[in-house]
């Protein structure tokens, strides 16, 4: 199964990639929300999206709104990995359909625990 990582920082994408690869996912990457949508719509095996909030062109919240507007992505696991920690803004993202939040900075364990929380299991690497 694929995981899509959307972050405008290449360093952050690399960190996240290492963690989810360890869980057995193959990784696709995008540098902003719009690119993320393009990758998502072109692929049919994405089971998990990790998305940053603040990015150029299309931010993470707009990405989440666009994804949840489509019924076929109603159940896609969407996790925001962000420096955003304002409760009111987090609440808004949850309303928009984000499943979980990981606040930066974080450790690999924290991300894995959050994924467990929403029922994302490690895939057996093929």
């Amino acid at each position: 199964m694929n995981a899509l990582i959307i972050d405008d920082s290449r360093a952050m994408r690399r960190i996240l990639k290492q963690i989810v690869t360890g869980l057995g996912f193959d990784v696709l990457e995008a540098g902003n929300g719009q690119e993320g949508l393009d990758v998502l719509f072109a692929s049919d095996d994405i089971g998990l999206v990790l998305v940053d909030w603040n990015m150029p062109e299309m931010n993470g919240l707009e990405f989440v709104e666009a994804v949840r507007a489509k019924p076929e992505f109603e159940r896609l696991a969407l996790v925001m990995v962000t420096t955003e920690s304002e409760p009111a803004r987090m609440a808004r993202a949850l309303m928009a359909g984000v499943d979980e939040f990981v606040m930066k900075p974080f450790t690999p364990d924290i991300l894995v625990e959050k994924l467990n929380l929403i029922g994302v299991k490690a895939c057996v690497a093929s």
Binding site: S85, P87, L94, E100, M103, P105, T107, I110, L117
Partner: protein, 274 residues
């Protein structure tokens, strides 16, 4: 200068006497770093002097401080998650039927560390059981460590702590943020009483509880102490109550009148022959 073997053995004996905790070998660095602040506070030059002072005076206050300082306090919100699912799906609804006439729910969290466990219990209650708002719901959180209890009472957690295991919807609903400090809301704090309690000495408790959590603390005791603590806990467990221990802990070989029950992916224990 590193502590001598004799010094370390002395501390180990003292800790077993005070709190029942068995320190693993190879923990001399931990002993040294945890005891250094106590030495300093007592106006002593270093940990060797603190140990010399303890040998000489046997001061109960210092001994207690030493025992508190070397405890392992590792914990997190929704640790192991399944026990909390079981409470939500089956246990609390059952207790609510059982206690409908007296309208009370009593939970004891017997090694609450920095408070993540009792606050998790409070969140489960407040989030899923609005009808309990006019019940007498009390969560008793106890620990041997004053420092941990102070942290429990403050309800303050770092960003790293709230990042661990706590669902974002709970964070947003039950915490206030100020900079990078997150504080539990009054509606959670109001449910919890905090009290210092050493599991290996007499317990000043008379209440009976519907649910008792003694998780991830039995591993630090020997079999005899473990059996004794659990059998005392059973006397405080209501006839239809539920007892939880840590997911890596076992009651096998303790010969206790317990019945094992699996609920929602977690094991809990109840009085045998209820």
């Amino acid at each position: 200068m590193p502590l001598t073997v004799t010094d370390i053995d002395f501390v180990r004996d003292l800790v077993v006497k005070q709190s029942g905790n068995i320190l693993r070998t190879g923990q001399s660095d931990l002993i040294e770093s945890r005891l250094a602040p106590i030495a300093k506070n007592a106006g002593l030059a270093n940990v060797e002097q603190l140990i010399a002072e303890l040998k000489r005076s046997r001061s109960p206050r210092l001994s207690d401080q030493v025992a508190q300082a070397v405890t392992v306090n590792e914990t997190s919100f929704f640790r192991d998650v399944h026990p909390f699912n079981a409470l939500r799906s089956r246990i609390i609804p059952d207790i609510m039927k059982e206690n409908a006439a007296r309208r009370d729910l009593k939970i004891w969290c017997a090694a609450s560390s920095s408070g993540q466990e009792p606050y998790t219990l409070a969140m489960v209650i407040r989030e899923h059981f609005p009808t309990l708002s006019d019940w007498n719901v009390r969560i008793l959180a106890t620990d041997i460590s004053e420092k941990m209890l102070d942290k429990c009472r403050s309800g303050q957690y770092s960003q790293l702590e709230v990042n661990r295991g706590l669902p974002a919807r709970n964070l947003v609903r039950f915490f206030d943020r100020s900079g990078s400090v997150w504080t539990t809301k009054q509606e959670l704090q109001n449910l919890i009483d905090f009290q210092k309690l050493n599991l290996t000495t007499a317990w000043p408790l008379t209440t009976q509880f519907d649910v008792i959590f003694i998780r991830n603390v039995l591993i630090y005791f020997d079999q005899k102490t473990k059996a004794e603590i659990l059998s005392r806990a059973l006397r405080l467990l209501r006839p239809n109550g539920y007892l939880f221990i840590g997911s890596a802990e076992t009651v096998i070989g303790l010969g206790l009148p317990l019945e094992r029950e699996e609920i929602d992916g977690t094991i809990c224990y109840r009085h045998a022959n209820r």
